[in-house]
């Protein structure tokens, strides 16, 4: 019944050509790095004391609640303290301060591993101990997805990168296509899936060709998807590839997905014994002098990366500094935050006035919402705090992809209004839970 639903996606101007062909800047080596001691909302416990010497690859912290995730040092040097400041996720968190000695002394974090010969259990244990996490943005520990791979039909490596401006995955694949192969095959084995594929946007023609050559003779197919937003979102991608919808997790539709850079990180761990210490990061936007991709240690401060990219364009006094791409990335009102493993871009845009007018109920947001919601009606119900109606409109299904604000011809902050509606529902639910306890 697509006649009754609208496209649920939309083509966006990618602005990817700004950084797509520029070389990756790899010389950034900050004097100090700050490792955020947080994964998701969970704190990570430091395993080193102040004054300890660390090397590249030393395990320095771990998350050990219901999930396990180790963190590794990206530089060699001395631990000099723990400081609390704002992360790129706009939350206050402890950061482990490491003074860089610029010697790059390495310690092998884990011994060489043969993924092909290893048993499924050994492979899962390796992925867990290697500290693999979703590098596409979520930062979710990777091994958790593979704990019970039952009836998996399709394993998907997500190389779609639908967020505008970002080309970090593209450059990462370009430079590490062999590691992508190793990591993808290992994850495919782990998924016990009947079929495997790498999903990539149809406009990246050269990379599709390279991927087809690399994966020739393996069970992994290369599947192209249209240049639409949010094609990289799990639900949209699964629907595009299989025609199936699911309620909570992609496994319900027989799919397991991982980001391409996560697969590359796993390949790097298997082939080279390297944990996740560095990140490919796109620095782009209309307010940065030298837009390009950078390869930086985790924990590098944003302003050092901006400076390395030539700073802001002269004459621009007011910018939006966004951790990530402009659709889903958060605007951070300072440049003192550090790069976490799940970050993949810094977008710097000049701040412009917007010409907001009244909503004309055109319904564009309803037609393009990938979650099948009616943002404009959520907005109207939120304005009168109609909790019952908001629940009927499934407000909590919103993933804040930003589409409704993007398409709005009246330039209303629809996504933000829906976000507030979600916060309102959360607050109501919390207060009711409190009442129930009494």
């Amino acid at each position: 019944m697509s006649f009754l639903t609208g496209p649920m996606n939309h083509h966006l101007e990618g602005h990817k050509e700004i950084t797509k062909h520029a070389d990756v800047l790899k010389t950034i080596d900050p004097d100090v790095v700050w490792i955020p001691l947080v994964n998701g909302n969970a704190p990570c416990k430091p395993l080193v004391e102040i004054g300890d010497e660390v090397k590249v690859g030393t395990k320095i912290a771990e998350r050990n609640d219901h999930f396990y995730l180790p963190l590794f040092s990206p530089v060699s040097g001395t631990v000099t303290g723990i400081e609390k400041f704002m992360t790129s996720g706009m939350a206050q968190a402890d950061h482990l301060r490491i003074q860089n000695d610029h010697k790059h002394t390495e310690v092998r974090a884990f011994p060489a591993f043969d993924a092909e010969k290893a048993s499924w259990e050994e492979l899962l244990e390796f992925v867990k101990n290697a500290g693999m996490l979703g590098l596409g943005g979520a930062g979710f520990p990777t091994y958790v997805k593979y704990l019970k791979p039952e009836n998996v039909e399709l394993f998907i490596v997500n190389a779609v990168e639908c967020e505008p401006y970002l080309t970090a995955d593209y450059k990462n694949i370009e430079e590490n296509i062999d590691l992508l192969k190793t990591g993808t095959l290992a994850l495919y084995k782990l998924s016990k899936a009947k079929k495997g594929c790498v999903a990539i946007k149809e406009d990246k023609k050269e990379q599709i060709k390279a991927l087809k050559e690399t994966f020739a003779g393996t069970p992994i197919e290369i599947r192209t998807v249209p240049d639409l937003y949010p094609m990289g979102w799990e639900r949209t991608l699964v629907f595009q590839l299989t025609g199936r919808r699911y309620d909570k997790l992609p496994i319900e539709a027989g799919c397991i997905l991982n980001n391409a850079s996560t697969a590359i990180a796993l390949g790097n761990a298997i082939d080279n014994g390297h944990p996740i210490t560095h990140k490919y990061l796109t620095v782009s936007g209309e307010a940065i002098r030298n837009p390009q991709n950078v390869y930086v240690p985790v924990g590098t401060k944003a302003h050092e990366i901006i400076d390395a990219c030539g700073g802001y364009i002269d004459g621009i006094e007011d910018v939006l500094l966004i951790a990530g791409g402009p659709m889903m990335g958060r605007t951070i009102p300072n440049d003192q935050f550090v790069i976490a493993p799940q970050n993949n871009g810094l977008t710097v845009l000049p701040t412009e006035d917007k010409d907001e007018v009244k909503c004309l109920r055109c319904g564009r947001c309803t037609e393009t919402c990938p979650s099948g919601l009616q943002p404009v009606r959520i907005q109207m119900s939120a304005a009168i705090f109609d909790e019952a109606e908001l629940n009927k409109l499934y407000v909590m299904d919103c993933i804040e992809c930003g589409m409704c604000t993007y398409v709005c011809p009246s330039k209303i902050d629809v996504t933000e209004n829906v976000r507030r509606a979600k916060n309102f529902i959360r607050a109501r639910m919390a207060s009711r839970a409190k009442e129930a306890k009494k």
Binding site: M1, F3, L4, T5, G6, L12, P164, R245, D247, Y312, E317, D318, V319, L320, L321, I322, P326, M327, R330, T331, I332, P333, D335, T347, L349, T351, K354, D355, V357, K358, C359, L360, R361, C362, G363, T366, C369, S371, G372, L373, Q374, V376, R377, E389, K392, L393, Y394, D397, E400, G402, M403, T405, Y406, V407, P409, S410, K411, T415, E416, R419
Partner: protein, 607 residues
Amino acid sequence: MKFSYRPSPNFRSKRHTSRIMMDLTVCLLAVLLCSAVSYSIIYGPAIGIRAILMAAVSVITAEATEAVYFKIRKMDIKKELEHSYGWVTALILTLITRIDVSYYALIVATILCIIVGKLVFGGFGQNIFNPAAFGEAIIMNNFAASKAADVTAKVYDTLSGGTPMAAMNSYGWIIEKANFPDFIQQFGGFSNMAMGGYPSVIGGSCAIVILLCGAFLLWRKDINYHLSCTYLVVLFVMSLIVGLYHGAGVEYALFHVLGGGVLFGTVFMMTDPVTTPISIPGRVIFAVGCAALTMILRWRSNLPDGVLFSILLMNMLTPAIDRLSDGNQIKNRKLIRNKVLGVSAVIMLITLLVGFFGIEAKHPVVSASGANTTALKDEDFAANAVECTAQGNGVYLCKAKGFEGVNEATITVKDGKIVGFEVTAFHDTPGVGDMATAEAELTRYNGVSLDSIIDATSGASFTSSSLRAMAAAALKADAGEPVSTAPAAAPEGSLGAEDFSANEPYCTVWTNTNKPEYVYKCTAKGFEGVNKALVTVNKDEGKVIAIEVTEFNDTKGVGDAAVAEAELARYAGLTLDAKIDATSGASMTSASLRAMAAAALNAAAGN
């Protein structure tokens, strides 16, 4: 360096509401221009200019009204005006208005629709009713009589059967397949309807231009195809089914789609997002409801067309329809789909039942146009006031009234047959009437005798009838029959001697099925407005049989003394030689009635 905070996303499409409104404005102006041009060609430049002036008056009124409102509310006038888009409302209102509506009515309607229809609800984006439809409803319901009579006479009274909608109404909204070609021929066929060659509302004329605008707006993604397409398809399919049930063909369904305000409403009014549901399922239900109401109102109500009120009625239901599509479009897709199908099915079933059992074909007589079945000698050319003078050798110089002026021709008759027909003076509308005087048309008169049957030239019936009148008169003169008789002087004080020139009475033959009874459709100015009546005359005896007032536009409570049943009964048996007193206390209205009676009798007498 300043780091600003803005909630995500910080990426927006370039499309702006103002751009959508500009696209709409351009399209509306295109439609207006086309109407003005086609009116200028058909009815003369004054009518074309009037269309543009009406639009200008309405736009200025709308903007002024909004400016005053914003001033009183102490808002930023310039900014609010820019984002209130009042001119779009004004343009649409003008385009769904008839060309003969007075400026006064248009101004009042504009003010009311801007204030009551839009601003009091909170302005643009908040209104419940389509403001333009609201304004037109005001004009239709309250200003039916506030018309520029000269424009009415020039544009609308020229059509023997009225506008296509009114003509269809006189057929009971159903026409059997066999009769359809004759019917549609009155309006020059579908091609002429598509090009706007018949009077309707100002913007209803140029179907082609409206469709092009629709295509343009769809391409620019300014309007949504779900609503428009569903509406047109449902309207077509339902009228097709009902038509087939009653023995009509596909043309009947096509007429429903092409006629009246359907296309304009589809492109410019139903697509108004403010007053229609937000979700696509909601829009589909809205469209189905509109289509059903359009048809039911056409079939069963006495409104000229159902489109306008179907939109207004569905506007009321918009919030309820929106609630029908509550839920997640993915998770509840089956439920939502079933709701749409269920509601649509019920609506369509009701409509079909009304269509099957609620309408019945009628067979009015269409006069002076289309296929002719009367021999030349029996045709009634009284209205043409024909005169012929013999020049010898069977050559006659003839004069006869056409549509606007008197046409002249030189006709040569030999052995009771026409052998030469040359138009020497043409004073009808160029581009219209001259279809009848084209060479190919004139050759049809070769060999014509008084017993011949000559069809009228379609689309130029008035000019054509002046030519046929001259042909008949020349043939009659050649046969020694008298053709032009000066009216005998009427006795002093009699109806025939009264001077009704101030009433500007005008009569056309409505039906003549019960010969010698002729029904004349007459208009005459009363005190405030133009009154209309059907006057039945016994042509042979020159007597009024009955007078029936069909439209009364004089002062209520005063003038209607003259149209009371007892008063009208006085007209029965009236002749031109008889004397009839004015109704005391309602002399002006009475004069208009007497003028119409006299005009009908005069017409019957061939004066």
